[in-house]
Amino acid sequence: MAQIRVEGLDKSFGTFHAVKAASFTVEDGQFLCLLGPSGCGKTTTLRMIAGLELPTAGTIRLGGEDVTMNRASARDIAFVFQLFALYPHMNVRRNIGFPLKCEGVGAAEHDRRVVEAARILRISHLLDRSVSGLAGGDRQRVALGRAIVRQPKCFLMDEPLGALDTEMREAMIHELRGLHDRLGATTVYVTHDQLEAMAMADMIAVMNNGIVEQVASPRDIYDRPASLFVADFIGSPPMNFLPFRGRLQVGAQAIWLGEREVAIPAAREALVESDLVLGVRPEHVRFTDRGMVRGEVYGSEYLGTTQIVTVTTRYGALKARSPSSICFRTGESVGLDFRPDTLSVFDKASGRAIRTALYEGGAHG
């Protein structure tokens, strides 16, 4: 197992700039998720680490060794594809053993390692079956078996659960993470599903339009989003955004939202008068009679223990998460209040989060 270090990675396909100066480091044994909407460049980044695409610029180091221009077969990595890519003309045993055949491993050792991989993935009973008859989850286990049989430097996975149904995916999330921990593997995992990323990752790299917007732990990504995009992409429902115009001084603890003062975490940088955005997670919106923002209840979605209440205000529709025991009538006039220590402020033009006390103590992106 090894550290993966990506520096200034760039990839263009003709005029299309797929990945722009991506940099991040996956420490030995870490589980990193590349998360982003489709077309954001996450798969291209993964394929460059694998050696299936060559970067236009930048370097990739595996365990300290520069492998940027090495071909895939010389990198000693394993790749799990979304559609499994099991060889249909081989049975399970030969599929799992295929990487070993190339290394010239002896027959006894070959058998031992295939059986061991199958045991770890609990597919020993399927070894002599044809892969075409297998269910989705078992196919994915065979694909994983092919990855772990060789004990590579790292695992790269391209939406490996995307082709599975929801129930199977839930089970496989835990299995994958468990497998990672048992093997002490370094893993890079591509997904567009934030729940998957949150559940599995040590670190998440959020990508958008070819740019790595933030690399941080799941908690930091959620609580301290580095940009408007991250704040909007992560969380369901996403963060509420209240646009306003104003300026900030270092140490300022409040902003003027319309004619009302809203307390925020102390600012750590100064800003001249500009268009700003206040970000509030739905669970940090509270209903009070003397709230700083007033609005009308538009509707609510019942989610079991909580409900999402949509309130129409002069800043647009705001969503609030509240206990489902409280009853709201449509059209009811309510006041809203925000938990001051959790608010984020963004610069509207650049989308960048303004440094405040909130962003201290957490890792920065």
């Binding site: 299936l52 394993a78 594809f81 890519a85 060889y87 990487p99 190339c102 060789r150």
Partner: protein
């Protein structure tokens, strides 16, 4: 009818429709089989029965056609034949009954061998070249890919015989006329465009992930191609091989023009088998019957692939 209507299904044809379709297929099969049956029957007729009018359906079978196909004979006086000893085998005795003796083997076997070498040689070459270039067109960013593919296809837009005279002159100059190599190259060049287009379709359908997985597992691209792509392209390769073989096996015009003594194939040879007093129809029919055998065997051996090949891509998995 009432039963069929009771279990009416939108997608399944009714029993009546199916029976009608079956009838049509049988009718079509009979119509296409008649000439073949006629050829096979004629090959077992005596020369007199072969040209009798009205044609005979029932006749006394004879192997004279096959004997005449494989031998050359010379006419002798009955007195001379009397002086000879016992006839050597069946063909000799048939010949003697017509006041002839077997003079030696005919050219049919060498022509047949030429056909085998040229047809299978050009098929293998066309399929091998076609598979490699189809893979290249399918997987790599080839500059001017679409133009090149169109150019390859455009060689099929005219009948090959349209270039017969230039090819004749060219072959004469470079010394390829009447050589097996020349014919193999010619049929390969005609077939390779078909092979590239057919095989590109098949290889496009094979997900790239298979090779990528193999390359990550430590194999080179060529190893991945051999170990992963080829086994999955067998259907397409078999279907393409049959199409190429049928063309090369049956080709007549170029064979007449470019071959004579050395590399002549069976198609130009069979129609000019001359017997006593004109065309020897039973021998021609016998030559044709035997000529059908290799292609039938090849097609039957690969028919599973051929069927899958024709319907390939219509339904995934």
């Amino acid at each position: 009818m009432s039963v069929a209507n009771a279990a009416h299904s939108v997608v399944e044809p009714s029993a009546g429709t199916r029976r009608f379709a079956g009838l049509l297929v049988i009718l079509y099969a009979i119509i296409t089989m008649i000439p073949l049956v006629w050829i096979v029957l004629t090959s077992f007729k005596s020369p007199d029965d072969a040209i009798s009018y009205p044609p005979k359906i029932l006749f006394k079978p004879s192997l004279e056609g096959y004997c005449n196909l494989f031998t050359t004979r010379s006419r002798q006086t009955p007195e001379f034949i009397q002086t000879l000893g016992q006839p050597h085998g069946l063909c000799d005795s048939i010949a003697r009954s017509r006041n002839m003796v077997v003079a030696g083997p005919s050219n049919y076997v060498p022509r047949f061998v030429n056909s085998l070498i040229i047809a299978f040689g050009s098929t293998m070459l066309a399929v091998a070249l076609g598979t490699l270039s189809a893979y290249g067109f399918s997987r790599f960013r080839v500059p001017l890919k679409d133009d090149l593919l169109f150019f390859i296809l455009s060689t099929r837009m005219m009948p090959p015989i349209a270039v017969a005279i230039p090819i004749y002159l060219m072959y004469r100059t470079v010394g390829l006329s009447d050589t097996r190599l020349g014919m193999i190259l010619l049929y390969t060049s005609v077939n390779v465009s078909l092979a590239v287009w057919l095989l590109k379709g098949f290889i496009d359908e094979i997900p790239r992930e298979y090779e990528e997985a193999a390359m990550i597992d430590g194999y080179t691209r060529f190893q991945a191609f051999v170990k992963v792509v080829l086994p999955q392209a067998t259907t397409g390769i078999a279907a393409t091989a049959i199409f190429c073989l049928i063309f090369a096996w049956n080709e007549y015009a170029f064979a007449v023009l470019l071959t004579s003594g050395n590399a002549q194939t069976a198609p130009p040879f069979i129609p000019i088998i001359i017997g006593e007093g004109g065309q020897d129809w039973p021998a021609v029919a016998a030559g044709t019957t035997l000529f059908l055998v290799p292609i039938v065997v090849f097609t039957v051996l690969l028919r599973k692939h051929l069927l899958r090949g024709i319907t390939f891509g219509a339904v995934r998995k």
